[in-house]
Symmetry: C2
Subunit: 188 residues, 2 copies
């Protein structure tokens, strides 16, 4: 690779990151209806350049949410106390739900992405965050035996509704909702 080629590639990576950062901020503050033209303007990158990196807004949104989910998974893994299946299970849900509350504009998209990832790739990282932990919690008698992965995902979908309809109080309303919903899944 020539020096010129390396510089081009570094510029592309730099622009890509600028667009990702601007997109994340724009979706979180203004919701997912914000346009690619507006995002490229905020990123300080030409519209044509933005389109080369992300042909459509859906490409950009998917990439941002994939990054968010990966971050959530790491946070949940770090936070979950080893050996306590109920704490491990609820921590993964709480982490994901808190992430939604902090990004109100993305709350619904996060619920849909987690749901899609869990349903289409049951062996994948995202699915395992919920299913393997949930299975463990069920076999140790901490979850109601009839609780399904769909029930777990419904908490995130429900949380998106609570967030959407609690303007200015997203974080507290979401946290309270999640505790009550988790209690509904518990065996005791």
């Amino acid at each position: 690779m020539t020096v010129a080629e390396r510089r081009l590639r570094a510029d592309a990576a730099h622009n890509r990151q600028l667009i990702l950062d601007a997109g994340r901020a724009a979706f979180a503050s203004d919701g997912i209806d914000v346009s690619m033209a507006e995002i490229s303007r905020r990123a300080g990158v030409g519209f044509a350049t933005a389109q080369r990196r992300f042909p459509t807004k859906e490409h950009l949104l998917r990439e941002i949410i994939a990054e968010e989910l990966s971050g959530m998974q790491e946070a949940a893994t770090d936070a979950a106390p080893a050996g306590d299946p109920w704490e491990a299970f609820t921590t993964s849900i709480r982490t994901c739900a808190a992430h939604q509350a902090l990004h109100p504009g993305l709350a619904g998209a996060i619920a849909e992405s987690v749901s899609a990832a869990t349903m289409t790739d049951p062996a994948g990282h995202i699915a395992s965050m919920f299913t393997s932990i949930a299975q463990h919690a069920t076999t140790t008698g901490m979850l109601r035996p009839d609780v399904t992965v769909g029930d777990v995902l419904a908490i995130l979908k429900g949380n998106a509704g609570v967030i959407a309809h609690s303007p200015g109080n997203e974080v507290r309303a979401s946290a309270r909702f999640v505790e009550l919903a988790l209690r509904g899944l518990g065996a005791t």
Copy 2:
């Protein structure tokens, strides 16, 4: 009142009902972003006439939801078995939640209207549907003592999220979600 005046008044009432019916159907199928022009077209009523009855779409939406809420309240009152506070409480929530699931386009607006009605008029019909029943259920030890009206309203907000993110499966997903959420509020 002359015959002409009576006829004018009857025409106005007839048009009003046509617009209400068309609005209800349009909001339910297409969501609340449908325009007044489109609603008046579907009602077979001139746009100017529609505007005379309902100056803005918000006026129409508010009237439709007020009617829905009144219908829900009657249904809940009829369905609730006398003397069992937990059944009376859960029946009112289930009735309201089922109504949301049957009108996916209105689910969020119903949650917001119930919430606004409960918070702004605690002595009103809608508030009493939840608060007096909830109080009774709490004093008889069937609800967790720390459950608030806000928690009850959160079920409807959460239900709107579940409905929005369960396309094609709204009724089943909503019913399951509500049972688990109610369980989270129960004292046992």
